[in-house]
């Protein structure tokens, strides 16, 4: 049987646990161990994605001799094992996480090379990745909660890793506190579902669900908690605090972890509850959260003075696009005609935006990190004239900024176009807001570009050089992917995004993959 699903989890965990021991031997060995483990994880992830795309949904049973024994014969038809259910949507998220992991780890090797305590740093980085991979591939609600907590604890510890006079710890503390509260209420919601349906498996619960009042409380608790974890307005306040104070490579990974929370919202909405809940109301709740996120995020970003804080507000704003795209999909789930007319395209736009957003936002944070690495400040009032000395970084910034603003032919345009056109049929007002937000995004990145790279060379940055090669490779990979995704959007949509959207919509297929065609 195929072991990639387990290796995806086992390799990062093994790497993380062995990291302090390799650190005792030597710095060089630790760094090579980190790179080897990262390459192994990314390889396992890519092979797993390939397998899912060619063979369909993979079910992996932990603790079983063979995954065909996902439901033990003496369990009465209830899946009692911990299962990984990896369909096209999970594969899509795994691919996103793997790309970002590659870039961020490579970047860290250089950007953190002067810092202390790197053993713990890499150990936590791999734990964070294990948490993300687990969150997007698990088919078990309690298991999801465990991975959510691993992810939040590792993320908070990493965000606070460079103390920076206490400011980073403040950001980490806020993140840890908020994600713990969100996790606890998620757990209470899981308990509510377990009490009614006597199982923790998403597919089993979906097959027997009977939407009661208690399930309604559970779905509200789950969606609001996960929306807070993904940083949507009005629970976004932690996002700028944590993203701006964390090390830049970690911010790029925290973005992926917020994407994993976003994935969970839609897994719960589409696969777990599906049509049994009132999809129109829940869909509109998600859409309203999305609109608020888009508009308030970008309008808070415009007057910011700290470059990472500005970008963090933009990440709030971009999450709004995905919430709107997929929220429209939830809202029209009950109407087959509207779903076929624009719902699927809206969902594809939202899903496509996830990977595009992870790519360009990750690249933007890595660029901000490169500038901070060389200049030591993130304040836009002090920066200037870096275009003379950091030409590659400036080139990558132009690509990423044009992509986030939705300028053709970069990848952000393709996904935003899909969202605009489909949402326009649903409700023109939302599409207009989305376009206005896009313009304001461009405006604020013009500001960043002007104040960071334009202007004459400033005397205090006379000695600034280009960043070292591994950082450039990490950023360059993301930039190349942005261009490729922009040039061949149809290819990406057909091979990755459309199967993911259809997998989300195919609730009975998800149930059948675990329960065996009941």
């Amino acid at each position: 049987m195929s072991q990639y699903a387990a290796l995806l989890l086992a390799i990062p965990l093994l790497a993380a646990f062995a990291m302090p021991l390799t650190g005792l031997i030597g710095k060089r060995i630790r760094n090579s161990w980190a790179i080897i483990a990262m390459l192994a994880t990314v390889t396992a992830a890519l092979l797993l994605v390939w397998e899912v795309l060619t063979q369909g949904t993979i079910v992996y049973a932990f603790g079983a001799f063979d995954s065909a024994q996902a439901i033990p014969f003496d369990s009465g038809g209830v899946p009692i094992r911990i299962l990984f259910v990896i369909d096209a949507m999970s594969a899509f998220m795994i691919l996103t996480a793997a790309i970002m992991m590659f870039a961020a780890t490579l970047y860290s090797i250089s950007s953190e090379s002067e810092q202390t305590g790197q053993d713990g740093y890499y150990a936590l980085l791999f734990l964070l990745m294990a948490g993300i991979f687990g969150m997007v591939s698990t088919g078990d609600l309690f298991n999801f909660f465990v991975f959510l907590e691993i992810n939040s604890l590792a993320g908070a510890a990493l965000a606070a890793y460079r103390i920076k006079g206490g400011v980073a710890v403040e950001g980490g503390l806020k993140y840890a506190f908020i994600s713990t509260v969100a996790g606890l209420f998620f757990l209470i919601a899981v308990g509510m579902l377990y009490g009614q349906y006597n199982s923790l498996n998403i597919a089993y619960i979906a097959s027997v669900i009977d939407f009661t009042g208690l399930s309604l409380v559970a779905v509200v608790l789950m969606i609001v908690s996960l929306a807070m974890k993904s940083g949507s307005v009005p629970m976004h306040f932690w996002t700028p605090d944590t993203y701006s104070s964390a090390p830049s490579s970690i911010t790029a990974l925290l973005i992926v972890s917020s994407m994993a929370s976003l994935y969970a919202i839609f897994r719960i909405a589409f696969s777990l509850f599906g049509l049994t809940m009132n999809v129109v109301t829940i869909g509109w709740v998600i859409i309203i959260l999305g609109i608020l996120s888009m508009f308030i995020g970008v309008s808070m970003a415009l007057p910011q003075k700290d470059v990472k804080r500005l970008m963090a507000y933009h990440s709030v704003s971009q999450i709004g696009y995905m919430l709107v795209g997929l929220g429209v999909g939830v809202a029209v789930l009950g109407d087959a005609q509207m779903l076929a007319q624009f719902g699927v395209v809206a969902m594809e736009g939202g899903i496509f935006h996830i990977i595009n957003y992870a790519l360009y936002k990750g690249l933007l944070f890595l660029i901000a990190g490169a500038v901070i690495y060389r200049c030591g400040t993130a304040n836009l009032n002090d920066l200037g004239g870096l275009g003379h000395s950091m030409k590659w970084t400036m080139g990558f910034f132009i690509i990423a900024a044009l992509a986030i603003a939705g300028i053709p032919p970069f990848n952000g345009f393709a996904s935003k176009l899909m969202i605009y056109e489909s949402v326009f049929i649903f409700n023109p007002f939302i599409a207009v807001i989305a376009m206005v937000v896009s313009i304001m995004t461009l405006a604020s990145f013009v500001k960043v570009f002007h104040s960071m790279f334009m202007g004459p060379k400033l005397p205090q940055y006379e000695t600034v050089k280009e960043v070292p090669m591994p950082m450039l490779i990490g950023m360059g990979l993301l930039a190349v992917l942005i261009i490729l995704f922009g040039l061949f959007p149809d290819l990406v949509v057909n091979t990755l995004v459309e199967p993911a959207a259809l997998a989300l919509l195919d609730r009975s297929g998800y149930i059948a993959s675990v329960m065996g065609g009941i």
Binding site: L216, V220, W284, M300, L380, P408, G486, P489
Partner: protein, 115 residues
């Protein structure tokens, strides 16, 4: 696999290759127009210096506009909006939690009303 295939969005289509072709053609046309411009322009003469009503040109670093000064007019024009929005971001952990529980109650109310 057809690399020139077009992304259809239900109501329209998007093809980056066509867009780039159009972009290149437009650039060539623009270049031709630019070529046929004023021919008396010469580099390295008095012509390229900025004209500041006869005043001396200030140092380059003195005219650099920092990031904080950009979009001053925008934020000033939307003062009513920003003066309400910005103070909400208090940085106080209690307020963050208050928003979370408030949103839970609000969403719950919405879901119950529109059941």
């Amino acid at each position: 696999m057809d690399f020139t295939a077009t992304l259809f969005t239900g109501t329209g289509f998007w093809n980056p290759i066509i867009w780039i072709l159009a972009f290149v053609i437009t650039s060539i046309v623009a270049y031709l127009i630019w070529r046929s411009g004023v021919s008396t322009y010469q580099k390295g003469t008095e012509q390229v210096k900025p004209y500041l009503s006869g005043n001396a040109e200030p140092e380059k670093s003195a005219v650099h506009i920092g990031g904080g000064n950009l979009y001053w007019g925008f934020t000033e024009g939307l003062k009513g909006y920003y003066s309400r929005l910005v103070p909400l971001h208090t940085g106080d952990l209690n307020d963050y939690m208050l928003w979370y529980f408030g949103v839970i109650i609000a969403v719950f109310a919405l879901v119950v009303i529109f059941l």
